[in-house]
Symmetry: D2
Amino acid sequence: MNKLKLGMVGGGQGAFIGAVHRIAARIDGQFDLVAGALSSDPVRAATSAAEIGIAPDRSYANFEDMARAEAAHENGIDVVTIVTPNHMHADPAVAFLEAGIHVICDKPLAHTMQDAERIATAAANSGKQFILTHNYTGYPLIRQAREIIGRGDLGTIRVVNVEYTQDWLAEETPADNKQASWRTDPARSGAGGCVGDIGTHAFNLASYVTGLETDALSADLDAFVPGRRVDDNVHVMLRFRGGAKGMLWASQVAVGHENDLRLRVHGDKAGIEWAQENPNQMSFTKFGKPKQILTRAGAGSTPDGQRNIRVPPGHPEGYLEGFATIYSEAATLIRAADHRSVPDPSVHTPGIVEGIRGMQFITACVASSKNNAAWTKLG
Amino acid sequence: MNKLKLGMVGGGQGAFIGAVHRIAARIDGQFDLVAGALSSDPVRAATSAAEIGIAPDRSYANFEDMARAEAAHENGIDVVTIVTPNHMHADPAVAFLEAGIHVICDKPLAHTMQDAERIATAAANSGKQFILTHNYTGYPLIRQAREIIGRGDLGTIRVVNVEYTQDWLAEETPADNKQASWRTDPARSGAGGCVGDIGTHAFNLASYVTGLETDALSADLDAFVPGRRVDDNVHVMLRFRGGAKGMLWASQVAVGHENDLRLRVHGDKAGIEWAQENPNQMSFTKFGKPKQILTRAGAGSTPDGQRNIRVPPGHPEGYLEGFATIYSEAATLIRAADHRSVPDPSVHTPGIVEGIRGMQFITACVASSKNNAAWTKLG
Amino acid sequence: MNKLKLGMVGGGQGAFIGAVHRIAARIDGQFDLVAGALSSDPVRAATSAAEIGIAPDRSYANFEDMARAEAAHENGIDVVTIVTPNHMHADPAVAFLEAGIHVICDKPLAHTMQDAERIATAAANSGKQFILTHNYTGYPLIRQAREIIGRGDLGTIRVVNVEYTQDWLAEETPADNKQASWRTDPARSGAGGCVGDIGTHAFNLASYVTGLETDALSADLDAFVPGRRVDDNVHVMLRFRGGAKGMLWASQVAVGHENDLRLRVHGDKAGIEWAQENPNQMSFTKFGKPKQILTRAGAGSTPDGQRNIRVPPGHPEGYLEGFATIYSEAATLIRAADHRSVPDPSVHTPGIVEGIRGMQFITACVASSKNNAAWTKLG
Amino acid sequence: MNKLKLGMVGGGQGAFIGAVHRIAARIDGQFDLVAGALSSDPVRAATSAAEIGIAPDRSYANFEDMARAEAAHENGIDVVTIVTPNHMHADPAVAFLEAGIHVICDKPLAHTMQDAERIATAAANSGKQFILTHNYTGYPLIRQAREIIGRGDLGTIRVVNVEYTQDWLAEETPADNKQASWRTDPARSGAGGCVGDIGTHAFNLASYVTGLETDALSADLDAFVPGRRVDDNVHVMLRFRGGAKGMLWASQVAVGHENDLRLRVHGDKAGIEWAQENPNQMSFTKFGKPKQILTRAGAGSTPDGQRNIRVPPGHPEGYLEGFATIYSEAATLIRAADHRSVPDPSVHTPGIVEGIRGMQFITACVASSKNNAAWTKLG
């Protein structure tokens, strides 16, 4: 099977998430990274391209040139991945979609709802694939959780509790911290800080696993660090359609937490608990029965829990493998689209719909918090 | 040192918490249980008294007789412990206080605020001790957490997250389950179900450890089990005086949780996490430093963490020992009161103030939830 | 039911284990401590007795006087508990047995095999009960483990792995540490140091739970701390009758371990794991099935796992409650003996047989280690 | 930087470890897999090659042809990786080394000591690199453990405890299980079964981290499953040069364990504990101080713990990333050798020395066990 030709926008020297995307694209061997507009700084763009093996004539000074040239190239890229800060998602996404090139894009979808809708429109018009890298949905046990809830193992869901806590922004942001500086600048991150950066992951994960639609939320956002211009701690109560209730806590000032995304779901028949920092196990308890520790692809695992794995149970897979699954499923979707075939029904990677939903979540949280945590509808 | 003479109201056959109180009173050897009105059913009262070694002439048919007789008895009880359902706390408490007898009482303080205030008034007028058995405050690491927060090890507190989750009421309550039936009957438990039974423990613990005063809360209460007349799941957002924020989750339908009281506190300097089911360890993380696992009375423990222990680190103490500490401190307070001496400043057992605060919490939660989770002031 | 009258030998001021025995005897309310020879120092004996409420005329200067006087007393003790260092077990045990008084004794049985056999003979001749406080056998989940192995849930046992690791003796023993000084003095602790103090607990626990008899062992004992006269680290390979194999590691120099007794048993059908520092849960895995986390008295618990409990699942019971179960079962045995009735078959408290077996274990370990870890038979 | 051209011997359809090596080689982007002799079955070899993108003219029917052709090819491979069963390591390794091609080889080094020595000789004569994929040495916290022990943070090492337990061979081996069948066939696996397959990993890890040399061992090997021709459970006592002691347990019949490699090291100053199934944390306890939970690249991490990482702390890296580090360091060693430069001193990947040491371990275990677990010298 020929590899897909991949381009990248953003991800030059000093960036974090670009390198992660490149590894994720390599792990399952389905992509060749052949083109890039890696930085808005032309020197850094060229140097970065050389470092990662992109030929000079496929390294571009900006995404507009890249979209135009790659669309015209006889061996042009099949798909581009966009790994820029939030405020620079929409313009390249629209440009590549309009150029007939599939798009993989980091989350959240955009920094404003208008931008998000521009992307959605372009995607709909293009007929091209748009994959949003909510990478935590790629963990096998998250797939298994989604599957067993879907088939009713938990019964009717009553309560969902999701958290994503970190502490790296617990103090004032050093001016030279590239990752921190754009995330705490509303002009680049959007109206939400923590809520957009990691709150959306938590919201997406809860929605993805349970299949529940959030009807309304009440949010209390804080910026605890003096001088911070965006929220760094987020408390949300959720009301789902159908009557389930939820709580969401996202924080970048929760001292003692590194990247502590965790999900608990309780139905009338059973409950589960999963935490990202040790993602190869999940607890599952049927009411009145002993708690079970389910392991990735281990005893009792389901078809979706056994798909997209690379090593047997007991050999931990991690963040990069979960991310790689998003890329592999993107490849499956892209190949199916290019061959006008029906994609594998087992593919469950988030896209435009989840991206818009995430933007609605951010928007509702910010609005609710400004309105004394009043209940606010999504969408 | 002579033992204190103890009486008990409630706690006859079939009761749960009465037996716990009796063991707690025995562990440190400071009490002799010599009198009781163990049941409103006279036969059960007598049989229960015989079983636990109370002399027939000190077993009473009702608390009124008991208060009167014991106050007049030359070797009458020093203190009574009240272990009846919530709606039967106030009458005996007032009767014994008015009879000049110290009172130990199970939580919550009462089933209505009026009753709570009657107790408060009686306690103030009597000059007698009133101890409320928020037993989880008796764990040595909770004492240590309180101490290190008080001395500033966590810096300014920003976020408090407290949970108390169970699953024993996840299905319809069997009619013959004595524990379940009064807890789900508003006439006996009060307006709050789960919020009063375990939500108050969570609220008390967060307040006790952090020293923060709750200014207002927003609560979403549910009764998920069909036909249930009181809440069985409680979501609360908290705003503390001074700017800290909190979340509280109490549930009796969270399948997979037995008695999962857990507390996380995050300040600008450090964070802690503790869980009741494994109460002999607590994590403590200074910002930028490795997480430490502090053990009960182990390395790095503080004076308050080393007080009230019975066995060295590594030998687990549990629920009953924490409860016994409440009793031992009650003994200390009672002896000091009786001798008009200053009680040991290390005693930190909850009493009337915490009881009223807990009632305000229940009241505010119920009111907020009826008002679409509107922010509601406490007290 | 009348309480049993209890006496104590040893356990005066400064002792550790005596206080533990006293609490254990109080928890279930079956004993009254009424007499003692608490110290070989008469002043300390009298002061200690006063402190714990023993009447002056029941406080004795030595155990010989006490045995004689209590046997003659019209309300003399029913049972004595011996909590002296190892070298002072045999003389009082024999004296009280010969005086017709039941004996509870701390472990190991004695400091030499001769002494152990003197006790065994006296016990056999007296017809009185002799209970050895291998307290870890009192944990409910240990009872449950014993029961499920006995009924075949693990199939044929293949491998047993038991450890008991501490670090409190990792450095040279301070001269003023009373607990440390006798444990590291061969004249008082016996030929084994760590192997006798905690190795016997580990050996007993493995034997108790599995029902396996050790045929031979190979032991490598070390005294790592300079100047130490007894072993402080013990490595043993075990061969059980019937073909199972085992490893045992006991250490008092394993830095990072407080009181880390843990047991793993693997059969051809299932495996279990339990650790004393969090004794309210045990893992249980059937081959090819998900691991289950069994909790004390929780879902899936067995009759023996539900016996001897005081609080519901999720409320941790600890070291003292396990110890209290030994005392309560001692009471059951003593009452049955005194009434010439058949004791409750659910009583499984260790006694003389296990004590002799423990001495054989110590003896074999010391002999094997001196002989370059040669395989050495027990008994 | 140009990628290294990689060939593979073994790893055709149905193989497990070959696919793992291919991912490991891809993750850091330093290798292109361009040639292979993937199977001794020519049809499977060709099909497998096509599947993984090896050109037909670089797919060989056997390793002899491959070594010859690739050595002569103008763009011939720089390095070959050997992923065949143990008995087929030596012949290809020698062939490629003699052809002047670097070798990466799965462990153990060979199935007999003679074969191992043939490889050692060929490696020495060739001047080429030979890397043995003891992949668990690639975990960042293992590197950190090695570094802190090397610099003295644990003081003098006293006790080492290492385990590698699995349960996948707890029952009779299905005839059609390719992975199981060669591992339980002495003709292909060598004299050791479990001891060679996973015991060597445990032994290597303990040696790697502590730097201690094993002087002698006493081993008790069992084949618990009826009809099994190699050991499936291994108990070993270890004596290290300098006086430290150790225990090693390897089992493939320990029901309840998936891939439970764990290491504990105790010195006179501190102790550590690490387990492979959650490899992103390690406990570290200084004597008398609280236990610390060190995380991969997190607070308190060391230079070696921060090297070879791909994502920040809190985002778990797993088995494949550890394996990838071995490949990346192999690349570093190969480039240095090819450029006659000094390799980066931070490279610590096992090679011939560790391979020979592992064979001595297997040999000594088998010999000791046959001799009633007599102490047996290594080497």
